[in-house]
Amino acid sequence: MAEQELCDLEVRDLSRTFGNTYALKKVSFKILQGEKFALLGPNGAGKSTTLKLLTGLLKPTSGEIKIGGVDPSTKKARTIMGYLPEDASPYQMLSVRENLEYIGALREIENVKETTDHLLDFFDLNEYERSKVGKLSRGTTQKLALALAIIHKPKILLLDEPLNYLDIPTQEKVITRLNSLDVTVIVSTHIMSVASRLTKNVIMLARGVIRWEGSIDALRALGEAEEPIESIVARMMTSAP
């Protein structure tokens, strides 16, 4: 029981097909409370599909997912999870504040107004408070999407390319903020530097199967002396299964 409570996320023999194509094939991994993992892989590896399956937006073809010991479609799982998709697009017809307050209300958080004020401050969104999302730049939209993903103080954060479109100062601020959170994090990315700044462990996916799993230090140790980590990753991703 104690082990189950410590284990935030468990995936067993997870497969998902689109038509006749396997996006994920018998993927299994376990993430303990507070661990930070990067899903690393080339385009089409199945990273985004994995996150959508974890959030319950997609149903697995076979296999099992447990979020905090329960199915992702349950209320408990929805309460403890925060999700940021790739190229996130909040409600276009609502303003920045309205988006935050609306999702705050749907998630039944207390002090919606205060939480919104805090997030607007933190992500420097105050000047866009009344701007409709359709008018924002991609960078500002990404900041809002990040704020929406953490508005309910989730215990598990699923982030798909979280630093996309952000300028360097904001990237640094977001990295510091995410690293300061005592939560379980899964970051999907194909950029090694993003993975190493936000996480300590890597699950390497290619063509829907796990190629390698372990810590970033262990990954670095797989290369030759002074071989850049990107080169090690590229070699492992393209090597035959």
């Binding site: 409600y91 609306y102 359709g134």
Partner: protein
């Protein structure tokens, strides 16, 4: 004219299946039109008014918001090619004419019976007028592009009055082709099309290209005041968002991208609804005194026209919804139930003034008004909500960057799927029309509609694969 460039533009804008289905629609319209005209199947006055009305809409839209629309890919690639701007503009202008031709076939196809008569000359003039009208609309978009706002209003106002004059029997207006003055109307239309084309061609080098995304962004104004969702329970938050500001999805064309984000406060709509209901209540008895049959038809016509408006509005489904936010915050089944309830209540509230007018009409002797009340308060809202549900399930489209997929780029399969979303509309339409003969049918339809809505809202079955299907189709 640059042959390769023109071919490229056509191929990137129109799918073959769309062109085939458009030609198919044209053939159906022509066969139906000629049969209707030669056998006097319909009272053509309905088509005449529709023809003038739709031309007013098209020409005034061209005058007020006219410009050559390009896609984002055009901006990034086409406009960077070493081709003179005038050549580009000329090709885009011709492609826009083709685009308008397709739209106009769909819009004007229904008025073919009004065009045609037993005379052979009407069959020759029909295609000529059709092309001339399309060229005129397209040329106005280019001419208006270089005008100031004031001049656009003057031009638009002039065109509206000019077309309206056809209803008073004035022959020297393009609108006259719909009202029986085929010869003068055609002459004026062809001359107007030629003149406007010459003027448009002269302005092509000054024309401004705008992407639909930019138009959508320009329209996305900052609000004066934020709505607050603080201290609202989930149901009230969804209700507040969907009830008090009824969203208008609009058509899915690049030209109308601006409209796709319209949301109108229900208070304004209610004010409009009350005024229209009063006018309706005063006018109908007046018409009924002159023509008994027309008075009765007026009672049936009201729910039919409202059904038409709301069905088109709701057939875009959850175009503005965000699954990654709402479906991860609430059970999708519960969330969608809240949306259905909010939209249905908004429509019932809007139709309430018309229902009150119908009670008055019933008491002054219009028996059909009782059926109309049931149609307005139950059948039409249920049909709209069913359309919303069906559109979401059958053909989910999500508005992400201010523009949905253009209809000119949809495949035949997608077009056929869109037709499926009209099932509730046609079902309700038939029920409302039959109610003028058998009032009991409206009660049966209302009971079935309510049962269907309750089933959709509370049954687990339709929702089993709902989120999965939406996500698989790219709805995030």
């Amino acid at each position: 004219m640059h042959r390769k460039l023109f071919k490229f533009m056509l191929q990137t804008r129109f799918s073959k299946s769309l062109l085939v289905s458009t030609v198919g629609m044209l053939v159906i319209y022509c066969v139906f039109g000629s049969l209707a005209a030669t056998n006097n199947l319909f009272d053509s006055s309905i088509f005449q008014y529709y023809g003038v009305g739709i031309t007013i809409v098209m020409l005034s839209l061209a005058a007020f918001g006219g410009r050559i629309i390009i896609t984002k890919a055009d901006r990034d690639y086409l406009l960077t090619l070493p081709i003179e701007k005038k050549t580009l503009a000329l090709n885009l202008y011709i492609v826009q004419i083709v685009s308008f031709l397709i739209t106009n076939i769909m819009l004007y196809g229904l008025v073919i019976p009004a065009f045609l008569s037993a005379e052979a000359s009407s069959y020759i003039l029909l295609p000529i007028n059709f092309v001339a009208l399309t060229v005129l609309i397209c040329s106005i978009t280019v001419i208006a592009n270089v005008l100031s706002k004031k001049m656009k209003i003057v031009l638009g106002g002039f065109l509206i009055l000019w077309l309206l004059s056809a209803l008073e029997g004035f022959p020297f207006t393009p609108g006259a082709i719909f009202m029986g003055n085929m010869l003068y109307g055609s002459a004026v239309l062809i001359v107007s099309a030629l003149l406007s084309t010459v003027m448009a061609l002269r302005e092509l080098s000054n024309v401004e290209f705008r992407t639909a995304e930019k138009l959508a962004k320009m329209n996305s104004l900052d609000g004066k005041k934020n709505r607050t969702f603080d201290k609202l329970r989930p149901f009230w938050a969804v209700f507040f968002l969907n009830f008090f500001a009824l969203k208008f999805s609009g058509a899915a064309s690049a030209k109308s991208a601006k409209k796709s984000k319209w949301s109108v406060k229900i208070t304004w709509l209610m004010a409009g609804s009350c005024i229209l209901a009063v006018c309706y209540g005063l006018l109908l008895p007046y018409i009924g005194v002159m023509d008994n049959f027309m008075g009765d038809m007026g009672v049936v016509f009201l729910p039919v026209s409202l059904l038409y408006i709301v069905s088109f509005n709701f057939k875009r489904g959850l175009i503005n919804e965000r699954a990654w936010l709402s479906f991860t915050a609430l059970d999708p089944r519960v969330y969608f139930r809240y949306i259905l309830a909010a939209n249905m209540l908004a429509l019932i509230t809007l139709f309430l003034p018309f229902a009150v007018t119908n009670i008055y009409l019933f008491f002054i002797g219009y028996q059909l008004a009782l059926s109309a009340i049931i149609s307005l308060l139950i059948i039409v809202p249920c049909s709209a909500v069913c359309t919303l549900y069906l559109a979401t399930i059958v053909n989910p489209v999500q508005l992400k960057e201010g523009i949905p997929m253009k209809p000119t780029q949809t495949t035949l399969k997608q077009a056929l799927k869109q037709i499926l979303t009209f099932i509730p509309f046609f079902g309700s339409l038939i029920a409302i029309l039959i109610s003028s003969i058998s009032p009991i049918s409206v009660i049966i339809t209302a009971i079935i509609s309510l049962g269907l809505i309750l089933f959709l809202s509370y049954s687990h079955y339709p929702w089993k694969t709902f989120t999965d299907k939406l996500t698989e189709k790219g709805f995030v």
